[in-house]
Amino acid sequence: MSTMMYRDALRAALLEEMRRDPRVFVIGEEVGRYGGAYAVTKGLFEEFGAERLVDAPISEASTVGLGVGAAITGLRPVVELMYVDFIGLAADQIANQMAKVRYMTGGQVTVPMVLRTQGGTGRSAGAQHSQSLEAWLAHVPGLRVVMPSTPADAKGLLKTAIRSDDPVVFIEHKALYAMKGEVPGGELLVPFGQAAVVRNGNDLTMITYSRMVHYALEAAQKLAADGISAEVIDLRTLNPLDMDTVLASVRRTRRALVLNEAHRTAGFCSELAARVTEELFDVLEAPVSRVAAKDVPVPATLLEKLSIPGPDDVAAEARALVQRRRR
């Protein structure tokens, strides 16, 4: 066990997997000599050189497509897209190629590639560098979607992603790169499709992922002072989605609060709300409640915080939820 920053945990995962498997290479803008826009790949170029840390020109569509083609022909690419906001540039290669090749070819052609990217707010980066677009990706069958909230999961899930025979979109959070946490030593492989109950509680279940896990935990602490006991679930992967853990918890607490940093309309928490309602309508004490970003482009500067829910918003929504009862 050691204390590690989120970005260092990601780098450790890349390093270990690249040493283990010579077919693994990294390609993307500024991943090599620069060391990555968020310093995740810093130092890797020195060990693996230009052949395996490939600095791509600013050509997102073809860089992702190169990954698809290299994956089909025997390599295990880790393609970095500097910001998730750039997926529009590569949308065809992601949604029509990477995601569908296996199915379209009757399962005979596989695409074992990872598309690493990062999203979310926290740096006043403006409307084109602060989005949470996971719902766009989770909508497409064939893609695994992974969103780690801690250094340990960042490492363990990235290693699993690199070894996966499925195309994986791995979305980091820009505000978590400097976050420190305990990371178990030795081989760390966190399986996909296993949500983590990160806090036990009885009065409501908060279901979320990525940075909102920390906001939920902060809110849960405030709620505890008021005598409200909140369970917090970190989904870790949106596809595969561990509904068993979610439903088991909500069946017990009978109240569900779903949270995401993405816009409220058609965000991933809308899907969660629908699924919980479909399965547990009869046991719910109250409608599933959502906490999400305002339906406005993410503003730069001081307005950013107003557009995104914080721990106090989560706590307020939770308080309102526990007061509701079925008649």
Binding site: F25, T63, L66, G69, T110, D166
Partner: protein, 336 residues
Amino acid sequence: MDVAVRPSPLEPGLRRKLFVMMLRIREFEDRVAEGYLRGLTAGSMFHLSVGEEGVGAGAGCAMRNGDVFTTHHRGHGIFLARGADPGRMFAEVFGRREGYCAGKGGSMHIADAKLGHMGANAIVGANIPISLGGGFSMKYLKTGGTSVAFFGDGALNQGVLYESMNMAALWKLPVVFLVVNNQYGMGTRIDRASACLDFVKRAESFGVRGAEVDGMDVEAVYSAAADLYGHSRAGNGPAFLIANCYRFYGHGRKDPSPYRDKAEEAEWKKRDPVEVQKARLIADGLLDAAGADAAVKEVAEEMEAAVQWASRASMPEPGDLWTGVYADDTSSGGRA
């Protein structure tokens, strides 16, 4: 019939093979069209390469085992030339389980990992970066092979072509960009889509070796393609070949091509690549009329047997719907 006067540099066996391959492609395509009329095809989304056989047979046969390729949506001929089993191709077009993609891809997504076919693609130009990745692998794994992207003139104005040409040249990847220029992107003639028609110049401006060839001349295509494949396999970087040909049918089977000049069509059809090669082989004493007829008959029998086999192949089962989405399909439980 125009017959090239210069002597062919190709072996007689290869020259006959190219002729027979073109016959096979044409017969295959016509049987697909017939299968549609008989209600055998799964839907009507298939695109026939009749008229373009010189490019499919020439550029396809010039590839070697170990090379990889992708095609556009009009790629049946190229895949046949790479050794595809026509029965399994028909089965795929007919939506059967025994098809190359278990009936899930259809005409526009045929692929076969064993034959190096990384996939036909239904998004114009989208296969180009995938072939770029194939070339990246060839170099990374030092296989000595090359990676060929086949696409139509319609893809000449897609951005990914130029991104990919730049990257292939930047890293000297063994990639060949092969344009099957049938003059029309669906209904739009090439000069109504491109301001500059010197596409070789475009390629060369990226540092990609470029060449142009008469796509109605299968031997010329074979030689030009073999030369550029060799260039790329030897580590000299990517190449670009534009093969000028003509689509004898419409964009789809029901398209009568009202946007094309009938005189233009007639002019191109005079240079039918199958007939050109036949006349040339006869002129060179490598084939006689009886031999040509025998070849036609043999190919017809082969394709008839393939259609018969494919039409008896099994239909997909409802459970097949859920297989092949993920490496471990049981983990999705029918739902993400």
